[in-house]
Structure formats: structure tokens, C-alpha cells
């Protein structure tokens, strides 16, 4: 479903070059849940952002459903509507109500009729458990509720893949659970998911595979069982010691 081949992304600024993603090769299969972990600054976000074309990459290839993002003729807008993304900071549209947040892209991008989009939005709000908040503005919701709306907003586009960039890192501890619950349900329903997170419990329970990144490189990958009990690499061992 997602194939990356020797993906490299460098940032050049103030006379120095940062190798944010440095030769990552991986293959994510349909319905697979992949969790990416690694220390801060290891290039996890950059990798994720390359996957839906929010960031251009320096070299290598990304194939999504057989479409090559490196190909100049590829329309990234067409790719992005198939790849949903959930951000650490929620990024809801503050000038629109919860319902409008979910409807807007359906109408503008998918060209759905208003009532069709509304029906879909209500259905998804029910699914993430905040049906009663549809007419609120985002600012009046708690962090956990906002993130669930953000998930519903991404799902409304009927994406084939969902990317999560530390979806619970900006939340108060008591709200982490409600968001992870929605993600677990998605995973059970067979959504293809790539999740950057520091929630090791989630990785253990839900992930089919764990990728460990450090300094832009894919250092180790394997099943959660393998990774949490018997990592091979020193860097992975050191990291796990810190977070567990």
C-alpha cells in the first residue's frame, strides 16, 4: 500500500544541512497498523509528512497505491484525499463549527451534496462519541474532543490510509485514553494506519509492526513483541530504557 525506497529529506539552512530522513526503505501493507517510535528530532514527523506530500523529499521514491509521489505529473491533491492525517495540535478550523469542519472538505474536494456530507459527518461524530457537540466551535471543546473531531474530519474523506503524528502528545493525561480508544477501533475495522506516538501501551496492543527511527535512519523494525522484549540495536535498547 505504501512503499518507500531509500527516502531522503534534507533541510538546508543557516549553512548547515540536516538529514531529517536519511534513507528509509519500508513497505506498509493494507490494513496494517505501523507504529513509529524514536527520540525527538529523529525525523518521524518529517517521514510522515513526506508520505502525504506535505513535505517534498530530496531523493528516493514513495509509492502510494502504485502512484509515485516523486513523479512530477502526480497530482498531490488527488493523493492527499486518499491519505488522512491527524496532527499533534489538532489543527481544527477555528472559524467553523464542529459539523462544518467535517463537511467543508467533503463539499470542496469530494464535491458531495450538503445533506450527504452532513449525514456522513453526523455518522462519524457519533462514531467518535461527540454527536452532541456538532454546533459548537472548536475552542469550546476539550483537547480530547478536538482531536476526536480531527479524526472524524480526516475519516470523512474516506481515506485509504490514516497518518497520526503524535495525536495524544498535546493532551492532558486524562484525555489520552478517549483518543486512543477511537484509534484502536479504527485499527480493528481494518484501516491502514501509520502512527507516530510515545504511547508504548498502544504500540504493544495495536501495532502489527514497530519501526524505530533515530537520526533520520530506520534503525530497527519488527513485531511489538520482538521490539519490546528483545531489540537487537543498542540505540533501540537505550531508547526503550528511557521510555519504559
Amino acid at each position: 500500500m505504501i512503499k518507500t525506497v531509500d527516502l531522503k529529506k534534507t533541510f538546508v539552512g543557516r549553512g548547515q544541512t540536516v538529514y531529517a530522513v536519511d534513507g528509509v526503505t519500508s513497505h506498509i501493507k493494507p490494513a496494517e497498523v505501523v507504529v513509529i517510535i524514536g527520540p525527538s528530532g529523529s525525523g518521524k514527523s518529517t517521514y510522515l509528512r513526506c508520505l502525504n506530500g506535505l513535505e517534498t523529499f530530496t531523493s528516493g521514491h514513495i509509492m502510494i497505491d502504485g502512484v509515485d509521489l516523486a513523479n512530477k505529473k502526480t497530482d498531490l491533491n488527488l493523493v492527499r484525499r486518499e491519505v488522512g492525517m491527524v496532527f499533534q495540535q489538532f489543527n481544527l478550523f477555528p472559524h467553523k463549527t464542529v459539523l462544518e469542519n467535517i463537511i467543508l472538505a467533503q463539499q470542496v474536494v469530494r464535491k458531495r451534496k450538503r445533506d450527504e456530507a452532513e449525514k456522513k459527518a453526523r455518522q462519524l461524530l457519533k462514531k467518535v462519541g461527540i454527536a452532541e457537540k456538532e454546533n459548537e466551535y472548536p475552542i469550546r471543546l476539550s483537547g480530547g474532543q478536538q482531536q476526536r473531531v480531527a479524526i472524524a474530519r480526516a475519516l470523512a474523506m474516506d481515506p485509504k490510509i490514516m497518518l497520526f503524528d503524535e495525536p495524544t502528545s498535546a493532551l492532558d493525561p486524562e484525555m489520552v485514553g478517549e483518543v486512543l480508544e477511537v484509534m484502536k477501533q479504527l485499527a480493528r475495522e481494518g484501516m491502514t494506519m501509520v502512527v507516530v506516538t510515545h504511547e508504548m501501551g498502544f504500540a504493544r496492543e495495536v501495532a502489527d509492526r514497530v519501526l524505530f527511527m533515530d537520526q533520520g535512519k530506520l534503525v530497527e523494525e519488527g513485531t511489538p513483541e520482538h521490539f519490546f522484549t528483545a531489540p537487537r540495536e543498542e540505540r533501540a535498547k537505550a531508547f526503550l530504557k528511557q521510555v519504559l
Binding site: 506535505l54 492525517m85 466551535y137 474530519r153
Partner: protein, 319 residues
């Protein structure tokens, strides 16, 4: 209760100081022996215009027919031609069967006319409104160019903004009128409006740019991650939010524009300021007219700022 009473005292002090200033002005004008003639001012807003009605040919008054405030005067010429004129009752100068020569007055018709101050106020109003709208459009386009990824668009917009903001409006008006007006053969009013619009556009562009850049990057990323194109994200997500934030500085800009529009009087456009000057040459009520002109500008600007603050309150529901 006590603090409320004290606030009330402070307000009283304000009024007292203002009265004191007024009294000072009054004493000062007394000293220079100025005679205030406020009663002359109203006629420059509106006045009754009397038009005399002459007989178009040698004729006899065939009949007079009163109806309401006016009289219909029916004339019969020597060759039998007939014609009827309406004149005001109290101005009627002829009686039935009277013989008239061509050019004799039958009476007069009076009607209300707008005086120069009203005309000037109206001109200032519409010139400012039209230049504001055009300036907003120019500013929006330039602001978008300013934040675009295309270096040429960026360079051009920066050049325009710097050029306009670095030179005085008065000089720009002269260039528009004397240079562009001659080269492109445009009327003075068009030259004036273009100069004001292009002047305002440069400032609006900077306001729009700041507004767009004040929206967190995550908004654009969220919109794009949903598959929206950049123009779609701009129109649905970024600009509506930026508009809300830029409303106060934009309002300030348009209020400035109303005031700056007084400069078009130098290229002989009859705006409020020029009308004021014209009225003064015929009345010598210099002080009164300038005070009135100032008050009228104040009226325009405060109405605009009321409207804007109403819009702001409407937009505040999502805060």
C-alpha cells in the same frame, strides 16, 4: 457605590476641562473681533432655488388655473399657438387676458437644491468608497502575491508596496494627474480615484500579508492534508480567518483613506474640502466652514468605525 460616585466626578472634570477649552477659544476669537455667522452655514447644505419663467412668445393670458400651491398659466399666441406653464401662486405676476411680450415673466418656480457642502460631502463619500473597494481588491491580490512562492510575483509586489509607501500621497496625486492623466488621457476624477486606490492598496497588501502570516501553519497543512488545493485552502480556511484578524487595521486604513481623500482637492476635484474652500471665498465665514467641514469628516469616519465594530462583533462568535 463610592467608587461609582468617584468615576462620575472624573467625568465631570472631563466636561469641565472641555468647557474651559471652549471658553478659551471663544475669548481668543473675541480678541480678534471675529463675527460668527453660523446662520449662513445651513444654506450651503440646501437652499431654495427660484427660476423665473418667461413667456416664450408674444401672447395673451388665456386662463389661470389654481391647484394647490401652483398655478397653471395658459398662453395663447398671435398665431393661435397654445402653451401652459406652472408657476408658484405667490410669485404669479400676470392676470387673466393680460397681453404679454416675449420674455415677460409669468412668475417663478422654486425648488430645493443641494448646496456645495452636501455635494462635496457626497463626492468625498463616493470617491472614498470606490477607492476603498478598488484598494481592497488591489491589496488582496498584492498581499497574496507577496506571500506566494513565485519570486517574480513576490518581487513585483514588494516593488509596488515600497514605491507607494515611500512617497507622499500628494506627490502621487500630482503624478497621476499631470503625468498619467496626460499620457493616458484620463479624467481628473479617474486620476484621483486611481491614485487613492493604489495608495490604499499598498497598505492593505501589507495588512493582508501580516494577516495571512499570522494564521498558524497547521491550518494550511490541515486543509492540504484533506486534499484541498492552495486556492481552495486560501478561500475557505486562511482568508476568512485572516480577514477577521485584519478587520481592525483595515478599518483604520479606510478611515485614513476618507481623510486622505481631502488631498484630491489639489487636482480640482470638488470634494468636501474643496467645496469648503469655495464656500469660504463667497461667505468669508472661514472659521465656521472649516469647523463644519471637520465635523462632516468626523461624521463619516465615526459612522464607518461603528459599522466595522458591528461586523467585528458578528464575527466574534467563534472566539
Amino acid at each position: 457605590m463610592k467608587s461609582r460616585k468617584q468615576i462620575w466626578l472624573w467625568h465631570l472634570l472631563t466636561v469641565f476641562i472641555l468647557l474651559l477649552l471652549g471658553a478659551g477659544l471663544w475669548v481668543a476669537t473675541k480678541k480678534i473681533d471675529y463675527t460668527w455667522r453660523w446662520n449662513r452655514v445651513p444654506q450651503y447644505f440646501a437652499y431654495v432655488d427660484e427660476t423665473l419663467v418667461p413667456a416664450p412668445f408674444d401672447a395673451r393670458v388665456a386662463s389661470l388655473q389654481r391647484s394647490g400651491g401652483s398655478t397653471a398659466v395658459k398662453l395663447t399666441g398671435e398665431n393661435g399657438e397654445e402653451k401652459t406653464f406652472e408657476v408658484d401662486n405667490d410669485s404669479l405676476k400676470v392676470s387673466e387676458n393680460e397681453e404679454l411680450f416675449q420674455g415677460d415673466y409669468l412668475g417663478s418656480v422654486s425648488s430645493w437644491r443641494l448646496g456645495p457642502l452636501s455635494v462635496g460631502l457626497w463626492n468625498t463619500l463616493w470617491i472614498s468608497a470606490v477607492s476603498s473597494v478598488i484598494g481592497l481588491i488591489i491589496g488582496l491580490i498584492t498581499g497574496l502575491c507577496r506571500v506566494s512562492n513565485n519570486p517574480t510575483l513576490r518581487n513585483l509586489s514588494v516593488a509596488y508596496i515600497e514605491l507607494i509607501r515611500g512617497t507622499p500621497l500628494l506627490v502621487q496625486l500630482f503624478i497621476f494627474y499631470f503625468f498619467l492623466g496626460t499620457v493616458l488621457d484620463i479624467s481628473r476624477i479617474l486620476a484621483g480615484i486611481s491614485a487613492l486606490a493604489i495608495f490604499a492598496g499598498a497598505y492593505v497588501a501589507e495588512i493582508i500579508r501580516a494577516g495571512i502570516q499570522s494564521i498558524p501553519k497547521g491550518q494550511m497543512e490541515a486543509a492540504r492534508s484533506l486534499g484541498m488545493s492552495v486556492p481552495q485552502a486560501m478561500t475557505h480556511i486562511i482568508l476568512p480567518q485572516a480577514f477577521k484578524r485584519t478587520l481592525p487595521p483595515l478599518a483604520g486604513q479606510f478611515i485614513s483613506l476618507i481623510k486622505d481623500s481631502s488631498l484630491v482637492s489639489v487636482i480640482a476635484i470638488t470634494d468636501l474640502t474643496k467645496s469648503g474652500r469655495e464656500v469660504i471665498t463667497s461667505t468669508f465665514a472661514t472659521f465656521e466652514i472649516w469647523f463644519v467641514v471637520a465635523f462632516l469628516y468626523l461624521l463619516l469616519t465615526s459612522v464607518l468605525s461603528q459599522v466595522i465594530s458591528w461586523v467585528e462583533r458578528r464575527l466574534a462568535i467563534s472566539d
